[in-house]
């Protein structure tokens, strides 16, 4: 009888994955097609299927801008979503997100140091508008991995996850304070450059950068699947998990490394896209009625990608030159969606102890 239940449920989930996969492909195509220059779907399909292009300028736009951006959006959405999921389970806290451990503040500090001090010191950087240089990526990466290193060293020493959480908040607070001080003594143009970075941007990765980015993202996502079984056990609490053979210390460190790697890399390349990682796990749990990480991880990779592609399509404002900051769009459209789901479900005790 029970064996039957598992078989039927596997069939059900498999169907859902197929549907979501198709949806991802559809949105991916739409995302490439829509933008300041609308490209007909037929050309997009020709382009994806590697057929000879009809219009060379369209082909150039798609190859150089639209395709890398759509790929970035897909990976960012899924990556941030699973970071949020893992942090929420590890810290047993529905408010936890990918940046709870101060990773975005760390990378923000790195970027701020480069922008504010770099210019003061007379170093030559091309830092105008949202064009982002390798130096900024490195600065953001150094900042976030600096915080990551501190957290990992602490997690080896500390037994308690909540203490770690507070430590992360403290690191974040110090970073923000330092950024504030830097801003206070800076010129308006530098502050604007920093603001532009903090808005987040999906469209500034070159193919070379995208190669590195997608390799790290893939490694992170595979690692997340591997962590899922242990995170499931952790749903019962640390003691139960340990009694079922989970090595808490290793799982905690692996989870922190994994989320920091994903969130840190995303922040380095795309800026701090904060809201998305926090709400993605809630959306997935409410939509699919499950807290099983083995299902949620691939589900979030898919619907995270789908939603991020959707938000990005909206931010491009079809027919208009300007692009809205992705941070603003995710919050503006995401928040009402979460509110709607919450009202429909009435509460969030689906995940957490009352």
């Amino acid at each position: 009888m029970i064996t039957q239940y598992f078989d039927t449920s596997i069939k059900k989930w498999r169907q859902l994955f197929v549907v979501l996969g198709l949806l991802l492909v559809v949105l991916f195509t739409l995302n490439i097609s829509l933008g300041s220059v609308a490209i007909p779907l037929s050309s997009v399909i020709d382009f994806i299927l590697l057929r000879p292009p009809v219009d060379n300028s369209w082909h150039l736009i798609m190859a150089q801008f639209r395709l890398p951006k759509a790929l970035t959006a897909t990976l960012v959405g899924g990556g941030l979503g699973i970071c949020g999921l893992q942090m929420q389970t590890l810290f047993r806290n529905p408010m936890a997100g990918p940046f709870i451990l101060g990773i975005s503040s760390g990378s923000g500090l790195g970027v701020a140091l480069i922008i504010f001090l770099g210019v003061e010191a007379g170093l030559l950087f091309e830092l105008s508008g949202i064009t982002r240089s390798w130096i900024m990526v490195c600065a953001a990466a150094l900042g976030s991995f600096g915080v990551l290193l501190a957290i990992i060293l602490a997690s080896v020493r500390l037994k308690d996850s909540v203490t770690l959480l507070i430590l992360g908040l403290m690191l974040g607070a110090v970073s923000s304070a330092l950024i504030n001080i830097l801003q206070y003594f800076s010129q308006a143009t530098n502050i604007q450059a920093y603001m532009m970075w903090s808005f987040g941007s999906l469209g500034s990765l070159s193919w070379n950068e995208l190669m590195i980015f997608s390799v790290i993202m893939s490694v992170g996502m595979i690692m997340s699947m591997g962590l899922s079984k242990s995170l499931n056990a952790l749903l019962l609490g640390a003691n139960y998990a340990e009694s079922m053979g989970v090595d808490l210390k290793i799982i905690r460190i692996m989870t922190i490394i994994n989320t920091s790697l994903l969130a840190g890399t995303i922040t380095a390349f795309c800026g701090p896209i904060a809201f998305f990682g926090l709400v993605m796990p809630h959306i997935a749990r409410m939509l699919f009625n499950t807290t099983n990480h083995l299902l949620l991880t691939p589900l979030i990779i898919l619907i995270g990608g789908i939603l991020m592609l959707f938000f990005d399509t909206v931010s491009q404002l079809p027919g208009i030159e300007a692009t809205l900051p992705i941070n603003a769009v995710t919050a503006l459209l995401g928040a009402p969606f979460v509110v709607y789901l919450l009202l429909r479900k009435r509460n969030i005790h689906y995940t957490f102890d009352k």
């Binding site: 029970i2 003691n239 009694s243 689906y350």
Partner: protein, 326 residues
């Protein structure tokens, strides 16, 4: 076969550089097929002991052996195949379904992606039928009553297929019928050849269903023995009721000292006599064989007939009898 035994074990906490010892020189053992209740007042170290046995808490000194192997030498994953636990803590995800939660018990056996093999499914199936919770399979955790939840947690422990199951207060918050049901379930689990250790405060049920009792007391050596022996030695009285609250040790009920209003002789059906006596004692009357006043209970009509020297009155309920006596 000895499933677990301890040798001059000391348990407690380390605060800074000092050890706060809760219990020391513990030498106990539990064999397969045995059900043992661990009793003691709050704060005496029951939960710490349980966690120490299951490898969740560091011991201060001494040693714990699982089937003659020192606990430190056993890897976490193989220890998970030897001991399963049921704790008082609630899970983090109330939206898990019952069957998903029980499937988590297969964690030590399934592969890295958590895929359940046929033998995993059989174990889940068996544990659910053994605990009679097949009908709950698709319920979510927040939909369960306390008694159902406890059975589900026991089923999860069973699905882990360990020789030893350790439970921390499995019957707390349950009503009497659920308490008895859980204890009988545990007894039958022990009967199937597993070892069961229960930390509990439920004196009456544990006395009746445990093979042995382990008694923890503050600043005193741990006691180990058959429940009835421990009662007769007065050990239970000492350990569990240090303040004299007038506990009747033969029944585990509250004794009423204030029986000064009078003596009554009770006659009739034993069950009726038992409950009438309890009502009278609560109201200050002692039940006595040589009392001049007698109450005869007529079972057929459910009449309580109160007779003293020359008067005789009948009542149709204990309540009316008590009103008259007041």
């Amino acid at each position: 076969m000895k499933l677990i035994h301890t040798q001059s074990l000391a348990i407690g906490y380390t605060e800074g550089h000092t050890n706060k010892v809760l219990q020391e020189d513990i030498n106990l053992s539990l064999s397969s097929g045995e059900i043992i209740s661990l009793m003691g007042q709050n704060g005496v170290g029951k939960t710490t002991f349980i966690k120490t046995l299951s490898g969740l808490h560091k011991r201060i000194s001494g040693s714990v052996y699982h089937q003659d192997r020192l606990i430190d030498e056993i890897s976490k994953s193989s220890l998970a195949k030897q001991i399963s636990i049921v704790l008082t803590e609630k899970p983090f995800a109330e939206y898990l379904s019952v069957i998903e939660l029980i499937a988590l018990g297969r964690h030590p056996y399934s592969n890295w992606i958590g895929r359940l093999s046929t033998s995993d499914k059989q174990a889940i199936d068996l544990s659910m039928s053994q605990t009679n919770i097949d009908y709950l399979a698709h319920k979510k955790l927040y939909q369960l009553s306390d008694g159902q939840f406890q059975k589900v947690m026991i089923a999860r422990a069973l699905a882990q297929e360990t020789d030893l199951i350790i439970l921390d207060e499995p019957t707390a918050h349950l009503d009497l019928s659920n308490k008895i049901e859980i204890m009988l379930l545990l007894k039958s689990i022990a009967g199937s050849g597993k070892g069961v250790l229960i930390a509990t405060h439920d004196l009456q049920v544990s006395l009746q269903l445990s093979d042995r009792l382990w008694l923890f007391n503050f600043n005193q050596p741990v006691l180990d023995g058959c429940p009835e022996d421990l009662i007769l030695q007065g050990a239970i009285d000492q350990t569990l009721f240090p303040i004299n609250n007038n506990i009747d040790l033969t029944t585990g009920t509250v004794k009423h000292l204030d029986e000064r209003k009078g003596n009554v002789l009770l006659q009739g059906d034993p069950t009726m006599v038992h409950w009438t006596a309890q009502a009278l004692q609560r109201n200050g009357y002692a039940v006595n064989k040589d009392a001049p006043t007698s109450i005869t209970i007529n079972c057929l009509d459910c009449l309580w007939k109160l007779e003293s020297k020359d008067t005789s009155t009948s009542f149709d309920s204990i309540e009316n009898l008590l009103i008259h006596l007041k």
